[in-house]
Symmetry: none
Subunit: 186 residues, 4 copies
DNA sequence: AATGAATGAGGATTCATTCAT
DNA sequence: CATGAATGAATCCTCATTCAT
C-alpha cells in the first residue's frame, strides 16, 4: 500500500521517529494495523520502503543529470551536478533529515550504500571519460573527493542554510562549489 | 557522576541506542537507577552529557589546532587543520557514529550547533587574518565551504573508508584535501 | 471440505496448535479463508472435526475388535483388546498427542466423553456376557478398571515408550497387561 | 513473588489458559505487569513455576508415602500407595487438569518427566527390596505397569468420577486397584 | 460458491521514572 | 544520599472473523 509509505514518511517528518508507531501509521494511512502487516512484514520494512522511495526519487534526478552531462566539459558538468545535488536535497528536506538519522540504526545501511556506490561509480566513469581535461589523478580517489564535497555542501546548504548562511545564495554556492571542484580536478 | 556518562557512552557504542535503558546504564555504572536520577533529571540529559563530553574532547583538539595555526600560511594551516579533523574523528569513531545518529532526535541539535558555530567562527577569523594570501572572497561563505568540505572528507574517511577507499591513504587524502581547499581559497 | 480437516490435522501435528491459524489452515488446504468459513463456522468447529475424525478412526478399530472378541474367553479377548488398544494408539500418535492436549481446552470434552462411554459400555457388555468365567464383580466398576488400565498402558507405551521402556517390548507388554487384567477379573 | 504464582494458578483454573494474560495475572496478583516481569522473565516461566509448585506438592505426598511403605509387605504397601495417589490427585484437581493440558505445549515436559522418572525409580526400588514376596519379574517393566495403572485409575477417579462412576466409592476403588496390582505382582 | 483484503481487539513485553525505605 | 521494587503507558505484532466483489 502506497498510502502506508506515504503516511510513514509524513509521520516521520511531522512527529519524529519515536511517535511513528505502527498503529499510528496505520491510522494516518486510513487503514487498520492488520492491513499494514498484510503489506509490510515489520515496522522496519516500512521504514525501508520509505528510505527506498526517497533514494529512488533522488537517484532519478542524479541518473538523469549524469546522462545529460556525460559529454559536457568539466566546468559545465560540475556546475550541473552541483545544481542537481542541491535540487535533489530539496525533494523533501525534512524527510531527508529524518532518514539520515534513522538509516544507520535501522539496518538499512546496506541499501543506502548501494546508492552511494552507484554515485561514486557514475562520477568515476565521468572522470575517466574526461581525463584529458584534468591533471593526472586516481579516478576512485577523485570520485571520493568530489562526491564528499558536493554532497556535504548540498546537504548543509539545504538542511542548515537558515542557521549558517545568508539565504538565497544558491547561485553563489553553486559557483563556489563548482570553482572548488573544478579547481581541484584541473 | 562521571561513571554514568562513561557507562552511557560505553553502552551506546557497544549495544546501540535501543539497548541503552536507564536501568542498564545504572547497572553498568555500578549504581542504582535512583542514583542516576539524582544526578541526571532524565535519560535525555544523560545523552546530552555524553554528547557534550565528546564534543568538548573534539573541540579541545580543534581549538588547539587553530591556536597553533593562527599565524601559519594557508597551505600549512589547511594541511594541519585537515589532519586534525581526521584525528578528531578518530577520538572515538564508534561513539561519534552513534551520536551523529542520536543528536538530531535527541533534541540536542542546539548544543551541537553551538560547536558548529564556533568552528565556523574560528575558520572565519583565520581567513580574515590571512585574506592577503587569498583571492577576494566572502569570509562567511568561504568558511562554510571549507568547513563543509573538510568535515565531510574527514567524516567519510574515518567512518566509511573501508567501504569506499583503499586503506592507509590518509596521507594522500590530507594532500588532496589540502590541495582542494587551498586551490579554492587562492 | 475434507481437505480442510486434513490440513488442520497436518498443521496441528507438524507445527503445533499455536501455529494453526485459520489463514494458515486455509492456505495449506489450498482454499481461501472465506471458503473455510463457508464450511466451518469457527476454528473450534474445525478442530472438533479433526477430533471426531480421529476418534472415529480409533473407534472403528475398537468396535471391530469387540465384535471379533464377543464370544472369546476372557484370556483371548483381553489379549486381543490390549493389542488393539496399542494398535489404535499407533494410528497417528502425534495427532493423538496434540489432540489429547487440545481436547480439554477446546470444549469438545463432551464429544470425547461419548466415545469413552461407548467403550465402557462395550467392555461392560462383554463382561456381563462372560460373567461365568470371572469372580463376582460389579460390571461398571470392572469396566472402569479395565478400560483405565489398558488405555493407560497403551497410551504410555506408544507416546512415551522411548523414554520409559526398553523398545520392542510390545509383545511382552501385551502379555503383562493381559496377565494383570485377567488376573484381576478372575 | 508467590502471589504471582498463586494468581496464575487461580486464573488457569477459573478462566482457562487462554484468558491467562500476563496483564490479567498481574492484576489478580495485585501488582503491575512490570513487577511480574521483574520476577519472571516470561509468561512461560510463570507457568513453569506453577507446574513446579504443583508437582512438588504432589511429590511431597508421594515421597513420604514411599518412606512410610518401604518395609511394608506388598499388600499393605500397594494399598497405601493407591490411597496416596488418589489423595495426591485431590490436592488441586482442577489445576491438575489444566496443567495436564498445558504441560506438553509449554515445553515443560522435561521437568515433568523428571518427576515421572523419580516415581518409577521409587517403585522399582520398592519392588527390588520386596522381590521375595513376588513372582519373578523385570523390575523396570513391573514399575511401568504399576505406575501406569495406579496413576490412570487415580487420575480417572478424581478427574472424571462424576461422569463415570458412582460417587464415594473411593474405598472400593482402592480395594480393587490394590487387588489388581497385587494380583499382578504375585 | 469462492475469494482474500480488511478489521481491530488483544497479547506479551519493555522501560523511563518515582518514592518509600 | 542511595537503593531498587514498583509502576503502567506504550509498543509491535497476531489472528479469528467478516464482507464486498
Amino acid at each position: 500500500m502506497d498510502a502506508l509509505v506515504e503516511a510513514t514518511a509524513r509521520i516521520l517528518v511531522k512527529e519524529g521517529f519515536e511517535k511513528a508507531s505502527t498503529n499510528r501509521i496505520a491510522e494516518i494511512a486510513g487503514v487498520s494495523v492488520g492491513s499494514l502487516y498484510q503489506y509490510f512484514p515489520s515496522k522496519e520494512a516500512l521504514v525501508a520502503a520509505v528510505i527506498d522511495r526517497h533514494n529512488e526519487a533522488i537517484m532519478n534526478f542524479v541518473r538523469a543529470a549524469f546522462a545529460e552531462v556525460a559529454d559536457l566539459p568539466i566546468e559545465k558538468a560540475v556546475r550541473r551536478l552541483v545544481t542537481v545535488a542541491i535540487e535533489a536535497h530539496h525533494i523533501d528536506p525534512n524527510l531527508h533529515r529524518v532518514l539520515a538519522e534513522q538509516i544507520p540504526r535501522s539496518g538499512h545501511l546496506a541499501e543506502v550504500e548501494a546508492y552511494s556506490h552507484e554515485i561514486h561509480a557514475l562520477v568515476r566513469t565521468y572522470l575517466e571519460r574526461h581525463r584529458k581535461e584534468m591533471r593526472k589523478l586516481d579516478p576512485a580517489l577523485a570520485a571520493f573527493m568530489c562526491v564528499s564535497t558536493i554532497e556535504a555542501i548540498a546537504h548543509n546548504t539545504v538542511l542548515n542554510s537558515a542557521e549558517m548562511l545568508p539565504e538565497k545564495m544558491v547561485k553563489v554556492l553553486v559557483d563556489e562549489t563548482t570553482r572548488m571542484v573544478v579547481g581541484y580536478l584541473r
